[in-house]
Symmetry: C2
Subunit: 403 residues, 2 copies
Amino acid sequence: MTDRRFMRRAIELATAGIGNVSPNPAVGAVLVRDGRIIGEGYHREYGGPHAETDCIRDARVRGEDPRGAVMYCTLEPCSFRSPTKHNPPCTESVIEAGITRMIIAARDPNPAVAGCGVHALRTAGIQTSCGLMEEQVLKLNESYFLATALRRPQVHLKWAQSLNGRIAHAGGGKTPISGPEAQRHSHGLRAAVDAILVGRGTVELDDPSLTARYGTSPARQPLRVVLDPGLRSPVSSRLFQDKAASTLLLSGPLNDNALTHAAELKRLGVELEQLPLHKEGGFAAEDILQALYERGVRSVLIEGGAVTHAGFLAAGLWDRLTVYIGPTLLEGDVLAPNAPVSNLSAAVVEREVDVLGDTVAITGLNPSTRRVLDGLKWDTAPQPQQAGCMLPQEEAHVHRFGT
Amino acid sequence: MTDRRFMRRAIELATAGIGNVSPNPAVGAVLVRDGRIIGEGYHREYGGPHAETDCIRDARVRGEDPRGAVMYCTLEPCSFRSPTKHNPPCTESVIEAGITRMIIAARDPNPAVAGCGVHALRTAGIQTSCGLMEEQVLKLNESYFLATALRRPQVHLKWAQSLNGRIAHAGGGKTPISGPEAQRHSHGLRAAVDAILVGRGTVELDDPSLTARYGTSPARQPLRVVLDPGLRSPVSSRLFQDKAASTLLLSGPLNDNALTHAAELKRLGVELEQLPLHKEGGFAAEDILQALYERGVRSVLIEGGAVTHAGFLAAGLWDRLTVYIGPTLLEGDVLAPNAPVSNLSAAVVEREVDVLGDTVAITGLNPSTRRVLDGLKWDTAPQPQQAGCMLPQEEAHVHRFGT
């Protein structure tokens, strides 16, 4: 179980990068000799050194020599160069450092790596084992794995409801459903994603700030995204005015009447992007996700309202779902999202339950998402094209939104 | 903590009577001398000996002499005789047995006892302490305490819903929402009550048998109650045909057309009772509960449908609520019950969460019910009327336990 202990430490190190490295994955590495850790490292921020390099440097700072040591790394080392990539291939750093054994948790699904990292290590005579605690690393970097495989952001739906499935009181307005522990939990979800998305109705009804607060302090605030096909969100809304994070408004094609409104929002620093309108005057979930993906968003937390949630549910474009259930009963028909489903089998798998004070959080994974993740494992993923590994690779996506 | 250990054992013994003793409470007793248990007893079935007597007899069977021993009893011993009562006053048995100290958990809210039991013991010179683990005993016998205080059965609402608050798929019919562990749990709820109630719609849609199964084996099956104002339930329904338990159908006043239907049901052994009809052709929740109470029902599990649940919610006539939440999402508008509430504060207190395989059960207590239960405690309950007890009165609680 010593191997698991070291890999667990590497995962722990990787965790520190969550929220700061997207669109890269969070990666951790540990160097071990004679059962003793001689170096630790992780990918600290986007653009900074990769975990392997950070770890080798740490060993040297400690006066240790990496030669002959074993490296535990949560992800397959990268093996390619590209003009837009900040780091040299980690396989080269590992080989040059004289490391003789590599233990790797998960395969890098980036087509520029995807088995070629391991191939390069083995070709250099490094004994390489794969798959230790793979599942934990898939979960840690779920958004990276999914976004890489699906070329869209990971989609996490989140709402709060009463015991009888209402999301607000019939009277309307902001309804306190969940208590402070649940607030902290949901702000933790915000801090871990690249973007938070709501529909126009939620902006008008709740006037949310959509920032990660309550004890979370992400290195950068997630992008705030508002779906507003008709460009009708009030300019006075908190998230347009407070400068607390970047804001993107997705609208339909703008007519002349909307131009002043648009100009006002732009003056406040709000970015506007136009998407095609579909049936009933709304956007297609695919279009929304594509627009976000092209901006470098690899994970999006969709906070409502129910119509927005239902759009992603209907399209099958969601990966995780978290429902907060407060100790309340509510009257009326402001309901949790309708869910067009084709069958009655389990809609979520790997269901987790968190008791957060008076609120219960139920989280689950879309079964299709589970299948996508399983397809990325060493056992099931396609073997790399041997010839492909020899060629210089292009990095597929480099654009990144800024805050 | 020795006292708690013995009282915990008495509670454990009491538990064995649940489901067999209603409308009496489940009571357990333990006799202790020199820190050693010399007798154990409980109220095994309605009409049988009370826990105190059972415990004293057990000590004698073991060849032990109760004289000078300490008795731990979960409920205040009864202190009255009546022509309809099967047992002599337990206070007399305790006094005659020479027990010198009594430790009692909860006060008996029955007006014929209600402090007089303790008074009789103290008058006889028995050192008597009250209140140890009182809360646990209130919970164990919640239906007895509530029914005695409110003169209506304890009302437990129960339903299963999807993650998005739907109780059935739009297509209708029986929708499997919760898995086998949840089924066992809900059959446990059935086994603990005197009656199970559903509306006519549930009989027609689900054709349930409404018996306690799935590993539960109550000494007697709860009474099955169907609300059917217009007497339209099909005679072929399982619960009319299967003879697995007694069935009561509550209808409105019967017209001539309904007489044949009624005669058919009676021939099958179904009992019919007519209640007045109120607005929208339904019953008043009060009337339903009164009819059940008069039949000796002290606890009723209301299994739906949503309209039936909503009636009890609207009337504020409910004590507990259990919602099973499956890992599913459902489409359409077959919704969990609407809950007319006057404010948005917590609707349930003492919320408990049970993870039952893929299903989560959330149970809570009505805050008004909590207040009723609190009012039955030694600290808050009214002192017995001097004239009400057979003997002169003293202060009801001299020795008290801390926590």
